[in-house]
Symmetry: C2
């Protein structure tokens, strides 16, 4: 059997593959990227699914529209308008996706011919690299610095042929935990605003801010070709696979709708009714505050342990929110080798390798802190410190 | 904005587009393809979702595996083994998809380079045409006759360059309602068994047989490159988007898994737990018998009305199951023109056009009978008869 070139080039998820090893009961794992299950509002979701069935009956189980459940789209538009005045979204600007991952894949279908340019943060989100790779593009990695992507590199990359999109995760990025500064956001906007590209801001973690204020989006609300992606996976429940896309470019959105028809017809409507009932009948913001308090404690614990146990030549990011810390070891240290050493000591992380589109040997690693108790975090970081 | 070639070539669903017109309250519509909502086991699904949450808690809401919920995969394998002894499927041969539509799209990702050959029934399932078109293949349509696809044409098509797959809907096909005979199944198998292609049997309606016995699958259980697709959309509830793929070719399946990771990570696990609980705690077969009785009455009513009101020069299929009847008008009659005439009389159908990959002007139409009462069916067919 001869498979397609694109599937042969698409990495199966390195993370999902190592999880098979790191999930053993006696391993302290910072390798995953799962929300803490104690944050799921199980009782309220159960109430909501019962209400949804009682109130809407067969509609909850029938085929539905590709764009998504209208009241949920209205809720999402209003939620964003409230968060950042001036965004001015309506339900017509929203399309519900089967998780945020599907949004990435639909965008790549709609925009990319083989060889077209994709500008992406380096290191960047692995799920995006996978989704885009299926269309065999040319990746132009732009270094992600503490303040955001490097502007000179971004401008150079924009001059490359057939660049179709710029993909960013401006808040508490996966894998680095970094957040673009206000100034860097403005510089990025100035660099892209007159370009004929789709500018993607993927914001799955934006609500999980521990410190500081919400910073305005880079292009959302200002640029027609802005596409904002969001998700309820980190604040309600990932298992329901509910994400969304917001854009004022309705020609683009109609192509996305066609691509979605061909991909899965529409997103699970049973889950859409349930989520909408949950969001409109519970204190959602208080719920998110509880997740923030939980993750802040875990993040603080991990950072304090790193301060205590890591040697001074190892540097790391200090996230303002989200789920990840990014560790940089000295030049020449091989993260993959360190991964195996760490597994011998029953502690796991994700070596930086799969997050780069250009590099093969790297000295970086991603740590997740949302799925372990403070005691376990302390112990795991202690073991890692010994290896480093 | 320059969009991808493939999205510009992909038809948005003709059916979904005309539904906007045909859904008006005063229109008698045979255009849809929806299961009858009175067939949904709403009360039992409500019980099952509550049990699933009570028994499995946070797992119902957390990220899950790409291949799907193991007990559901086991159930599906056993269900098929019971239906047709010798299939010998195990859970390892099953992957859960976000509806059967996603299976088509994943297969196209894994197999097709631009220009590769796809053999498809003519007329064929529109959702498959859409999904495959995203990879810009070359379609080789093979005439679907009353007994199944034409064998001489199939053999000719198999000689074309880079043919990667043969796509069939052997039972109560969409759009024609036709079922391959036992003899034709054997002839198709002889024609394909030594070819280096994936042979797809898409069987969303197979359980909804009104008359006659289950006929053995064409290639499932006999050919390593056989892929069998199934769905719970027509027998439980389409809104949950739960379909599946069965194959003994595990190399192929591992590529499908990678494609699915990149597409939506995994299928809604909340729905998978709910469906599994429903299937294993209710009299599912009795439930399917009720749907069969309902659809048989509707089909019989429509056929009797066609016998009474249609002119003798109009021919039509007599389905042994499923949801559709296919009507052939005399040569030269334009189905699209008839559609507009029918809409003037407030009755709707789907003109045959979108089901062909090669023809532009056609004299055929698809009628759905599952969503109207016998009285409405009689009245709608009477109006159609006057137009014909």
């Amino acid at each position: 059997m001869q498979y397609s070139d694109s599937i042969l080039n698409t990495p199966s998820s390195f993370i999902r593959n190592i999880l098979k090893v790191t999930d053993a009961a006696d391993v302290i794992s910072f390798a995953g990227g799962l929300p803490n299950p104690i944050s799921f509002p199980i009782g309220q979701l159960k109430e909501s699914v019962n209400h949804a069935i009682d109130e809407s009956g067969a509609k909850v189980f029938q085929y539905s529209t590709t764009q998504g459940y209208l009241p949920l789209r209205q809720y999402i538009a209003e939620k964003h308008n409230k968060k950042q005045p001036g965004l001015d979204y309506t339900a017509d600007d929203v399309l519900i996706t089967t998780g945020s991952q599907q949004a990435l894949e639909l965008i790549s279908k709609v925009l990319l011919n083989k060889g077209d340019g994709v500008i992406i943060e380096e290191p960047g989100y692995l799920g995006a690299i996978q989704a885009f790779t299926l269309r065999e593009p040319t990746f132009h990695g732009v270094t992600l610095e503490t303040e955001g992507i490097n502007i000179a590199e971004l401008k150079e990359a924009l001059k490359k042929p057939n660049v179709k999109m710029v993909y960013t995760v401006p808040n508490f990025q996966n894998p680095t935990g970094l957040t673009y500064t206000q100034k860097r956001r403005e510089e990025v906007y100035e660099a892209v605003k007159n370009e004929d590209i789709i500018f993607i801001e993927d914001d799955p973690y934006g609500e999980l801010r521990f410190t500081g204020e919400h910073l305005p989006y880079i292009a959302a609300g200002k640029m027609e070709n802005s596409v904002l992606l969001g998700s309820f996976s980190k604040t309600v429940a990932p298992g329901m696979r509910l994400g969304y896309m917001l854009t004022k470019n309705h020609e683009f959105l109609s192509h996305i709708e066609t691509a979605k028809q061909a991909s899965d017809l529409h997103t699970n409507i049973f889950a859409q009714y349930t989520l909408h009932h949950y969001l409109t009948n519970n204190a959602y913001e208080e719920h998110v505050e509880k997740i923030i308090a939980l993750y802040k404690e875990q993040s603080d614990t991990m950072l304090a342990a790193m301060e205590k146990y890591f040697p001074p030549y190892v540097s790391y990011t200090k996230p303002e929110g989200g789920m990840f810390i990014w560790v940089t070891m000295p030049e020449g240290v091989n993260a993959l080798e360190k991964f195996h050493e760490a597994m011998d000591q029953k502690v796991a992380f994700v070596p930086g390798n799969p997050f780069y589109t250009g590099k093969k040997e790297v000295n970086t690693m991603r740590l997740n802190y949302t799925n372990a108790t403070p005691e376990i975090i302390e112990e795991g970081i202690k073991r890692l410190g010994e290896i480093l």
